[in-house]
Symmetry: C2
Subunit: 222 residues, 2 copies
DNA sequence: CGAATAGTGTCTTTTAGACAGTATCCA
DNA sequence: TGGATACTGTCTAAAAGACACTATTCG
Protein backbone atom coordinates (compact mmCIF):
# COMPACT_ATOMS: atom_id res chain seq x y z
CA UNK A 1 0.00 0.00 0.00
CA UNK A 2 1.40 3.36 -1.01
CA UNK A 3 0.59 6.79 0.31
CA UNK A 4 0.72 9.79 -2.00
CA UNK A 5 0.01 13.50 -1.83
CA UNK A 6 -1.68 15.38 -4.66
CA UNK A 7 -2.09 19.13 -4.93
CA UNK A 8 -4.83 21.28 -6.37
CA UNK A 9 -3.02 24.60 -6.72
CA UNK A 10 -5.31 27.42 -7.76
CA UNK A 11 -4.45 30.96 -8.74
CA UNK A 12 -5.80 33.84 -10.78
CA UNK A 13 -4.26 34.74 -14.12
CA UNK A 14 -5.81 37.54 -16.12
CA UNK A 15 -8.98 37.30 -14.03
CA UNK A 16 -9.36 33.61 -14.83
CA UNK A 17 -9.13 30.77 -12.33
CA UNK A 18 -6.16 28.57 -13.18
CA UNK A 19 -4.83 25.29 -11.88
CA UNK A 20 -1.28 23.99 -12.01
CA UNK A 21 -0.93 20.78 -14.03
CA UNK A 22 2.08 18.70 -14.98
CA UNK A 23 2.53 16.45 -17.97
CA UNK A 24 3.25 12.92 -16.86
CA UNK A 25 6.58 11.61 -18.13
CA UNK A 26 6.08 8.02 -17.04
CA UNK A 27 3.43 5.37 -17.21
CA UNK A 28 0.66 5.03 -16.32
CA UNK A 29 -1.13 7.84 -18.11
CA UNK A 30 2.11 8.94 -19.78
CA UNK A 31 1.55 12.16 -21.68
CA UNK A 32 -1.68 12.97 -19.89
CA UNK A 33 -1.98 15.96 -17.59
CA UNK A 34 -2.02 15.40 -13.86
CA UNK A 35 -2.09 17.28 -10.61
CA UNK A 36 1.35 17.80 -9.10
CA UNK A 37 2.13 15.38 -6.33
CA UNK A 38 4.15 12.38 -5.33
CA UNK A 39 4.65 9.61 -2.87
CA UNK A 40 5.56 10.15 0.73
CA UNK A 41 9.31 10.34 0.79
CA UNK A 42 10.06 8.53 4.01
CA UNK A 43 8.15 6.91 6.81
CA UNK A 44 8.55 9.83 9.14
CA UNK A 45 7.35 12.57 6.85
CA UNK A 46 4.11 14.23 7.90
CA UNK A 47 1.31 14.62 5.39
CA UNK A 48 1.18 18.40 5.49
CA UNK A 49 4.97 18.47 5.35
CA UNK A 50 4.92 16.32 2.23
CA UNK A 51 2.38 18.65 0.67
CA UNK A 52 4.58 21.67 1.42
CA UNK A 53 7.58 19.87 -0.03
CA UNK A 54 5.75 19.04 -3.26
CA UNK A 55 4.52 22.62 -3.39
CA UNK A 56 8.09 23.87 -3.28
CA UNK A 57 9.55 21.23 -5.60
CA UNK A 58 6.93 21.14 -8.29
CA UNK A 59 5.65 24.67 -8.22
CA UNK A 60 8.36 26.72 -6.57
CA UNK A 61 5.81 28.04 -4.11
CA UNK A 62 6.53 28.83 -0.52
CA UNK A 63 4.15 30.54 1.85
CA UNK A 64 0.70 29.92 0.46
CA UNK A 65 -2.63 28.86 1.87
CA UNK A 66 -2.76 25.07 2.19
CA UNK A 67 -5.55 22.89 3.48
CA UNK A 68 -6.50 19.26 3.32
CA UNK A 69 -9.09 18.41 0.74
CA UNK A 70 -9.74 14.73 1.28
CA UNK A 71 -8.54 11.19 0.75
CA UNK A 72 -8.92 9.32 -2.49
CA UNK A 73 -8.25 5.67 -1.93
CA UNK A 74 -10.62 3.51 -3.91
CA UNK A 75 -8.94 0.31 -5.08
CA UNK A 76 -8.09 0.43 -8.75
CA UNK A 77 -7.56 4.18 -9.04
CA UNK A 78 -3.92 3.43 -9.83
CA UNK A 79 -3.36 0.35 -11.98
CA UNK A 80 0.10 -0.32 -10.53
CA UNK A 81 -0.67 -0.79 -6.87
CA UNK A 82 -3.07 0.22 -4.17
CA UNK A 83 -2.38 3.91 -3.83
CA UNK A 84 -4.13 6.09 -1.30
CA UNK A 85 -3.76 9.76 -2.08
CA UNK A 86 -4.25 12.65 0.29
CA UNK A 87 -5.32 15.69 -1.70
CA UNK A 88 -4.46 19.22 -0.59
CA UNK A 89 -5.89 22.49 -1.80
CA UNK A 90 -3.41 25.33 -2.22
CA UNK A 91 -4.27 28.92 -3.06
CA UNK A 92 -1.53 31.06 -4.51
CA UNK A 93 -1.45 34.76 -5.30
CA UNK A 94 -0.84 35.80 -8.85
CA UNK A 95 2.74 34.98 -9.77
CA UNK A 96 5.28 36.82 -11.94
CA UNK A 97 5.13 34.23 -14.70
CA UNK A 98 4.33 30.57 -15.16
CA UNK A 99 6.49 28.65 -12.72
CA UNK A 100 10.03 29.69 -12.00
CA UNK A 101 12.71 27.20 -11.01
CA UNK A 102 10.44 24.24 -11.34
CA UNK A 103 11.48 20.67 -10.85
CA UNK A 104 8.85 19.23 -13.14
CA UNK A 105 9.60 20.82 -16.48
CA UNK A 106 6.12 20.26 -17.86
CA UNK A 107 4.32 22.23 -15.18
CA UNK A 108 1.94 24.83 -16.53
CA UNK A 109 -1.06 26.87 -15.49
CA UNK A 110 -4.30 25.99 -17.20
CA UNK A 111 -7.72 27.62 -16.89
CA UNK A 112 -9.86 25.40 -14.69
CA UNK A 113 -12.70 25.48 -17.16
CA UNK A 114 -10.38 24.12 -19.82
CA UNK A 115 -8.85 21.52 -17.51
CA UNK A 116 -12.29 20.19 -16.63
CA UNK A 117 -13.59 20.20 -20.19
CA UNK A 118 -14.26 16.73 -21.61
CA UNK A 119 -11.52 17.27 -24.18
CA UNK A 120 -8.76 17.39 -21.58
CA UNK A 121 -7.50 14.06 -20.34
CA UNK A 122 -6.52 14.03 -16.68
CA UNK A 123 -4.65 11.12 -15.14
CA UNK A 124 -6.14 8.78 -12.53
CA UNK A 125 -9.10 10.32 -10.69
CA UNK A 126 -7.62 13.78 -10.87
CA UNK A 127 -10.69 15.16 -12.60
CA UNK A 128 -12.70 14.34 -9.51
CA UNK A 129 -10.06 15.75 -7.17
CA UNK A 130 -9.88 18.97 -9.16
CA UNK A 131 -13.67 19.24 -9.21
CA UNK A 132 -13.77 18.79 -5.45
CA UNK A 133 -11.01 21.35 -4.98
CA UNK A 134 -12.74 24.00 -7.05
CA UNK A 135 -16.00 23.30 -5.28
CA UNK A 136 -14.29 23.66 -1.91
CA UNK A 137 -12.80 26.99 -2.95
CA UNK A 138 -16.19 28.23 -4.15
CA UNK A 139 -17.86 27.28 -0.90
CA UNK A 140 -15.15 28.73 1.31
CA UNK A 141 -15.20 32.08 -0.46
CA UNK A 142 -18.64 32.70 0.99
CA UNK A 143 -17.87 32.09 4.60
CA UNK A 144 -14.14 32.52 5.06
CA UNK A 145 -11.43 34.98 4.20
CA UNK A 146 -9.99 32.55 1.64
CA UNK A 147 -10.25 35.13 -1.13
CA UNK A 148 -7.35 37.09 0.33
CA UNK A 149 -5.11 34.07 -0.27
CA UNK A 150 -5.50 34.73 -4.00
CA UNK A 151 -4.16 38.26 -3.55
CA UNK A 152 -0.72 39.51 -2.72
CA UNK A 153 0.22 40.96 0.64
CA UNK A 154 -1.70 44.13 -0.11
CA UNK A 155 -4.53 44.49 -2.57
CA UNK A 156 -7.30 46.78 -3.66
CA UNK A 157 -10.95 46.04 -3.18
CA UNK A 158 -11.53 45.66 -6.89
CA UNK A 159 -8.74 43.08 -7.01
CA UNK A 160 -10.56 41.20 -4.30
CA UNK A 161 -13.76 41.48 -6.29
CA UNK A 162 -12.05 39.93 -9.30
CA UNK A 163 -11.27 36.89 -7.17
CA UNK A 164 -14.92 36.37 -6.36
CA UNK A 165 -16.02 36.97 -9.91
CA UNK A 166 -13.46 34.57 -11.35
CA UNK A 167 -14.00 31.74 -8.88
CA UNK A 168 -17.78 32.00 -8.85
CA UNK A 169 -18.14 32.95 -12.48
CA UNK A 170 -20.51 35.82 -11.77
CA UNK A 171 -20.55 39.62 -12.05
CA UNK A 172 -20.85 41.61 -8.86
CA UNK A 173 -21.84 45.22 -8.32
CA UNK A 174 -18.62 47.06 -7.36
CA UNK A 175 -20.45 49.51 -5.11
CA UNK A 176 -22.30 46.92 -3.07
CA UNK A 177 -19.22 44.72 -3.00
CA UNK A 178 -17.21 47.60 -1.60
CA UNK A 179 -19.56 48.13 1.30
CA UNK A 180 -19.99 44.42 1.89
CA UNK A 181 -16.33 43.56 2.37
CA UNK A 182 -15.85 46.64 4.54
CA UNK A 183 -18.73 45.71 6.81
CA UNK A 184 -17.51 42.14 7.32
CA UNK A 185 -15.54 42.75 10.48
CA UNK A 186 -11.93 41.60 10.45
CA UNK A 187 -12.01 40.57 6.81
CA UNK A 188 -9.76 43.30 5.46
CA UNK A 189 -7.92 46.17 7.14
CA UNK A 190 -6.56 49.32 5.57
CA UNK A 191 -2.88 49.01 4.77
CA UNK A 192 -2.33 52.67 3.97
CA UNK A 193 -1.34 54.03 0.59
CA UNK A 194 -2.93 53.60 -2.78
CA UNK A 195 -2.30 51.74 -5.99
CA UNK A 196 -2.43 53.34 -9.38
CA UNK A 197 -4.21 51.51 -12.17
CA UNK A 198 -4.17 52.27 -15.87
CA UNK A 199 -6.91 54.78 -15.60
CA UNK A 200 -9.17 56.20 -12.97
CA UNK A 201 -8.79 57.21 -9.37
CA UNK A 202 -6.12 55.31 -7.40
CA UNK A 203 -7.50 52.66 -5.07
CA UNK A 204 -6.74 52.33 -1.39
CA UNK A 205 -4.69 49.34 -0.33
CA UNK A 206 -5.81 46.72 2.16
CA UNK A 207 -4.38 43.60 3.69
CA UNK A 208 -5.98 40.47 5.10
CA UNK A 209 -7.59 41.03 8.48
CA UNK A 210 -7.56 38.80 11.54
CA UNK A 211 -10.87 37.02 10.94
CA UNK A 212 -10.92 33.68 9.20
CA UNK A 213 -14.70 33.40 9.35
CA UNK A 214 -16.80 35.98 7.54
CA UNK A 215 -19.69 37.65 9.28
CA UNK A 216 -21.89 38.42 7.47
CA UNK A 217 -21.00 35.99 4.67
CA UNK A 218 -20.54 37.07 1.08
CA UNK A 219 -23.39 36.54 -1.31
CA UNK A 220 -23.00 34.93 -4.72
CA UNK A 221 -25.56 37.12 -6.47
CA UNK A 222 -25.45 40.72 -7.51
CA UNK B 1 2.75 2.04 7.15
CA UNK B 2 -0.73 1.14 8.27
CA UNK B 3 -4.03 2.56 7.16
CA UNK B 4 -6.90 2.81 9.60
CA UNK B 5 -10.45 4.10 9.67
CA UNK B 6 -11.93 5.92 12.65
CA UNK B 7 -15.54 6.89 13.13
CA UNK B 8 -17.17 9.87 14.79
CA UNK B 9 -20.70 8.57 15.24
CA UNK B 10 -23.10 11.22 16.52
CA UNK B 11 -26.68 10.87 17.64
CA UNK B 12 -29.20 12.57 19.89
CA UNK B 13 -30.17 11.03 23.21
CA UNK B 14 -32.60 12.90 25.42
CA UNK B 15 -31.98 16.08 23.44
CA UNK B 16 -28.24 15.86 24.05
CA UNK B 17 -25.59 15.31 21.39
CA UNK B 18 -23.86 11.99 22.01
CA UNK B 19 -20.88 10.24 20.49
CA UNK B 20 -20.14 6.52 20.42
CA UNK B 21 -16.95 5.58 22.25
CA UNK B 22 -15.32 2.25 22.98
CA UNK B 23 -13.03 1.33 25.82
CA UNK B 24 -9.72 0.11 24.52
CA UNK B 25 -8.90 -3.44 25.56
CA UNK B 26 -5.34 -3.47 24.29
CA UNK B 27 -2.29 -1.26 24.43
CA UNK B 28 -1.56 1.45 23.64
CA UNK B 29 -3.98 3.59 25.64
CA UNK B 30 -5.48 0.48 27.24
CA UNK B 31 -8.49 1.44 29.33
CA UNK B 32 -8.86 4.83 27.72
CA UNK B 33 -11.85 5.72 25.59
CA UNK B 34 -11.48 5.84 21.85
CA UNK B 35 -13.48 6.35 18.70
CA UNK B 36 -14.58 3.10 17.09
CA UNK B 37 -12.44 2.08 14.18
CA UNK B 38 -9.84 -0.32 12.94
CA UNK B 39 -7.32 -1.16 10.32
CA UNK B 40 -8.14 -1.81 6.71
CA UNK B 41 -8.91 -5.48 6.49
CA UNK B 42 -7.41 -6.34 3.14
CA UNK B 43 -5.62 -4.59 0.34
CA UNK B 44 -8.67 -4.41 -1.85
CA UNK B 45 -11.09 -2.89 0.65
CA UNK B 46 -12.25 0.61 -0.19
CA UNK B 47 -12.07 3.30 2.45
CA UNK B 48 -15.79 4.03 2.55
CA UNK B 49 -16.45 0.30 2.55
CA UNK B 50 -14.18 -0.14 5.55
CA UNK B 51 -16.01 2.66 7.34
CA UNK B 52 -19.36 0.97 6.66
CA UNK B 53 -17.98 -2.34 7.90
CA UNK B 54 -16.74 -0.81 11.15
CA UNK B 55 -20.06 0.97 11.53
CA UNK B 56 -21.86 -2.36 11.35
CA UNK B 57 -19.39 -4.33 13.45
CA UNK B 58 -18.76 -1.87 16.24
CA UNK B 59 -22.06 -0.06 16.44
CA UNK B 60 -24.58 -2.34 14.78
CA UNK B 61 -25.59 0.50 12.51
CA UNK B 62 -26.62 0.06 8.91
CA UNK B 63 -28.06 2.78 6.73
CA UNK B 64 -26.86 6.02 8.23
CA UNK B 65 -25.36 9.22 6.89
CA UNK B 66 -21.63 8.78 6.35
CA UNK B 67 -19.09 11.27 5.06
CA UNK B 68 -15.35 11.63 5.07
CA UNK B 69 -13.99 13.95 7.70
CA UNK B 70 -10.27 14.03 7.02
CA UNK B 71 -6.95 12.27 7.31
CA UNK B 72 -4.91 12.21 10.46
CA UNK B 73 -1.45 11.02 9.71
CA UNK B 74 1.14 12.91 11.68
CA UNK B 75 4.09 10.71 12.61
CA UNK B 76 3.99 9.72 16.25
CA UNK B 77 0.23 9.76 16.70
CA UNK B 78 0.43 6.01 17.29
CA UNK B 79 3.48 4.89 19.25
CA UNK B 80 3.51 1.44 17.65
CA UNK B 81 3.95 2.28 14.00
CA UNK B 82 3.24 4.94 11.44
CA UNK B 83 -0.54 4.84 11.27
CA UNK B 84 -2.53 7.03 8.92
CA UNK B 85 -6.16 7.20 9.87
CA UNK B 86 -9.05 8.27 7.67
CA UNK B 87 -11.79 9.70 9.85
CA UNK B 88 -15.45 9.45 8.90
CA UNK B 89 -18.40 11.30 10.33
CA UNK B 90 -21.58 9.28 10.80
CA UNK B 91 -24.94 10.64 11.88
CA UNK B 92 -27.41 8.17 13.33
CA UNK B 93 -31.04 8.62 14.33
CA UNK B 94 -31.98 8.02 17.92
CA UNK B 95 -31.72 4.31 18.66
CA UNK B 96 -33.83 2.00 20.84
CA UNK B 97 -31.12 1.61 23.44
CA UNK B 98 -27.36 1.88 23.74
CA UNK B 99 -25.93 -0.46 21.14
CA UNK B 100 -27.57 -3.73 20.34
CA UNK B 101 -25.60 -6.72 19.09
CA UNK B 102 -22.32 -4.97 19.33
CA UNK B 103 -18.99 -6.54 18.62
CA UNK B 104 -17.03 -4.30 20.93
CA UNK B 105 -18.56 -4.93 24.32
CA UNK B 106 -17.36 -1.65 25.78
CA UNK B 107 -19.15 0.58 23.29
CA UNK B 108 -21.29 3.27 24.86
CA UNK B 109 -22.88 6.61 24.03
CA UNK B 110 -21.41 9.60 25.81
CA UNK B 111 -22.50 13.23 25.71
CA UNK B 112 -20.08 15.09 23.47
CA UNK B 113 -19.58 17.81 26.04
CA UNK B 114 -18.50 15.19 28.55
CA UNK B 115 -16.29 13.38 26.04
CA UNK B 116 -14.48 16.60 25.24
CA UNK B 117 -14.11 17.75 28.83
CA UNK B 118 -10.52 17.81 30.08
CA UNK B 119 -11.37 15.08 32.58
CA UNK B 120 -12.03 12.49 29.89
CA UNK B 121 -9.00 10.78 28.43
CA UNK B 122 -9.29 9.97 24.76
CA UNK B 123 -6.78 7.73 23.01
CA UNK B 124 -4.37 8.94 20.33
CA UNK B 125 -5.50 12.19 18.68
CA UNK B 126 -9.15 11.26 18.98
CA UNK B 127 -9.95 14.42 20.89
CA UNK B 128 -8.97 16.43 17.84
CA UNK B 129 -10.86 14.14 15.48
CA UNK B 130 -13.98 14.37 17.63
CA UNK B 131 -13.65 18.15 17.84
CA UNK B 132 -13.37 18.35 14.06
CA UNK B 133 -16.35 16.03 13.61
CA UNK B 134 -18.60 18.06 15.88
CA UNK B 135 -17.48 21.25 14.20
CA UNK B 136 -18.27 19.77 10.79
CA UNK B 137 -21.73 18.75 11.96
CA UNK B 138 -22.38 22.24 13.34
CA UNK B 139 -21.35 23.89 10.10
CA UNK B 140 -23.29 21.53 7.88
CA UNK B 141 -26.51 22.01 9.82
CA UNK B 142 -26.67 25.56 8.52
CA UNK B 143 -26.37 24.85 4.84
CA UNK B 144 -27.39 21.25 4.29
CA UNK B 145 -30.18 18.90 5.20
CA UNK B 146 -27.89 17.02 7.58
CA UNK B 147 -30.26 17.56 10.49
CA UNK B 148 -32.72 15.05 9.04
CA UNK B 149 -30.04 12.35 9.39
CA UNK B 150 -30.44 12.67 13.17
CA UNK B 151 -34.15 11.90 12.87
CA UNK B 152 -35.95 8.72 12.00
CA UNK B 153 -37.70 8.14 8.70
CA UNK B 154 -40.50 10.49 9.69
CA UNK B 155 -40.30 13.24 12.25
CA UNK B 156 -42.09 16.28 13.57
CA UNK B 157 -40.83 19.80 13.15
CA UNK B 158 -40.16 20.17 16.85
CA UNK B 159 -38.05 17.01 16.76
CA UNK B 160 -36.05 18.64 13.99
CA UNK B 161 -35.74 21.76 16.09
CA UNK B 162 -34.32 19.72 18.97
CA UNK B 163 -31.55 18.57 16.63
CA UNK B 164 -30.51 22.14 15.92
CA UNK B 165 -30.77 23.16 19.54
CA UNK B 166 -28.72 20.21 20.76
CA UNK B 167 -25.97 20.41 18.14
CA UNK B 168 -25.64 24.18 18.27
CA UNK B 169 -26.35 24.53 21.96
CA UNK B 170 -28.84 27.35 21.48
CA UNK B 171 -32.57 27.96 21.97
CA UNK B 172 -34.66 28.68 18.89
CA UNK B 173 -38.09 30.24 18.58
CA UNK B 174 -40.45 27.38 17.64
CA UNK B 175 -42.70 29.65 15.58
CA UNK B 176 -39.98 31.17 13.46
CA UNK B 177 -38.27 27.78 13.18
CA UNK B 178 -41.49 26.27 11.90
CA UNK B 179 -41.81 28.79 9.08
CA UNK B 180 -38.12 28.68 8.32
CA UNK B 181 -37.86 24.95 7.67
CA UNK B 182 -41.06 25.04 5.67
CA UNK B 183 -39.82 27.83 3.45
CA UNK B 184 -36.50 26.13 2.70
CA UNK B 185 -37.55 24.40 -0.48
CA UNK B 186 -36.95 20.67 -0.66
CA UNK B 187 -35.76 20.42 2.93
CA UNK B 188 -38.73 18.54 4.35
CA UNK B 189 -41.92 17.23 2.77
CA UNK B 190 -45.16 16.29 4.46
CA UNK B 191 -45.37 12.57 5.11
CA UNK B 192 -49.03 12.57 6.11
CA UNK B 193 -50.36 11.63 9.52
CA UNK B 194 -49.54 13.01 12.91
CA UNK B 195 -47.64 11.98 15.99
CA UNK B 196 -49.03 12.23 19.47
CA UNK B 197 -46.82 13.60 22.21
CA UNK B 198 -47.39 13.56 25.95
CA UNK B 199 -49.47 16.66 25.89
CA UNK B 200 -50.64 19.21 23.39
CA UNK B 201 -51.87 19.13 19.85
CA UNK B 202 -50.52 16.26 17.71
CA UNK B 203 -47.80 17.29 15.29
CA UNK B 204 -47.76 16.62 11.57
CA UNK B 205 -45.17 14.20 10.30
CA UNK B 206 -42.54 15.02 7.71
CA UNK B 207 -39.76 13.20 5.96
CA UNK B 208 -36.49 14.37 4.44
CA UNK B 209 -36.96 16.20 1.14
CA UNK B 210 -34.90 15.95 -2.03
CA UNK B 211 -32.61 18.93 -1.41
CA UNK B 212 -29.21 18.41 0.15
CA UNK B 213 -28.39 22.10 0.11
CA UNK B 214 -30.52 24.51 2.14
CA UNK B 215 -31.79 27.71 0.55
CA UNK B 216 -32.13 29.91 2.48
CA UNK B 217 -29.75 28.53 5.12
CA UNK B 218 -30.72 28.09 8.75
CA UNK B 219 -29.63 30.72 11.21
CA UNK B 220 -27.96 29.99 14.50
CA UNK B 221 -29.63 32.76 16.42
CA UNK B 222 -33.16 33.25 17.67
C1' DC C 1 -61.94 24.15 32.04
C1' DG C 2 -56.53 24.72 32.15
C1' DA C 3 -52.13 23.31 30.61
C1' DA C 4 -49.34 22.25 26.95
C1' DT C 5 -47.74 21.90 22.32
C1' DA C 6 -48.89 22.81 17.14
C1' DG C 7 -49.43 26.00 13.80
C1' DT C 8 -50.63 30.99 11.67
C1' DG C 9 -50.54 36.04 11.25
C1' DT C 10 -48.41 40.35 11.66
C1' DC C 11 -45.42 43.92 12.92
C1' DT C 12 -40.62 45.87 13.24
C1' DT C 13 -35.88 45.87 12.39
C1' DT C 14 -32.24 44.53 9.57
C1' DT C 15 -30.11 43.38 5.33
C1' DA C 16 -29.61 42.78 0.25
C1' DG C 17 -29.68 44.86 -4.06
C1' DA C 18 -30.32 48.61 -7.35
C1' DC C 19 -28.53 52.69 -8.68
C1' DA C 20 -27.64 58.06 -8.47
C1' DG C 21 -24.11 60.86 -7.35
C1' DT C 22 -19.36 62.65 -5.89
C1' DA C 23 -14.08 62.18 -5.85
C1' DT C 24 -9.74 61.68 -8.04
C1' DC C 25 -6.79 60.17 -11.24
C1' DC C 26 -4.90 60.19 -16.65
C1' DA C 27 -4.66 61.91 -21.25
C1' DT D 1 -12.24 68.77 -20.53
C1' DG D 2 -13.77 63.77 -20.95
C1' DG D 3 -13.21 59.21 -19.64
C1' DA D 4 -12.34 55.91 -16.40
C1' DT D 5 -12.30 53.90 -11.92
C1' DA D 6 -12.83 54.69 -6.68
C1' DC D 7 -15.85 55.55 -3.26
C1' DT D 8 -20.40 57.31 -0.79
C1' DG D 9 -25.34 57.94 -0.13
C1' DT D 10 -30.04 56.56 -0.55
C1' DC D 11 -34.10 54.18 -1.79
C1' DT D 12 -36.76 49.76 -2.08
C1' DA D 13 -37.75 45.05 -1.57
C1' DA D 14 -36.85 41.01 0.93
C1' DA D 15 -35.60 38.55 4.93
C1' DA D 16 -34.90 37.92 10.02
C1' DG D 17 -36.74 38.19 14.43
C1' DA D 18 -40.18 39.25 18.06
C1' DC D 19 -44.40 38.00 19.58
C1' DA D 20 -49.84 37.88 19.70
C1' DC D 21 -53.08 34.74 18.47
C1' DT D 22 -55.78 30.49 17.10
C1' DA D 23 -56.06 25.19 16.98
C1' DT D 24 -56.08 20.75 19.01
C1' DT D 25 -55.01 17.50 22.18
C1' DC D 26 -55.08 15.48 27.35
C1' DG D 27 -56.67 15.24 31.92
Amino acid sequence: MLLAVDLVILTLRDSVLNVLLVERGIEPHRGALALPGGFLRDREEGLAAAARRELAEEAGLGEVHLEQLGVYGEPGRDPRDRVVSVAYLAIAPRLPEPVAGTDAAGACWKPVEQALSPRTELAFDHRRILTDGVERARLKLEHSALATAFCGDTFTISELQQVYEAVWGVRLDPRNFYRKVQSARGFIVAAGGTRQTETGRPARLFRAGPSQVLNPPMSRSS
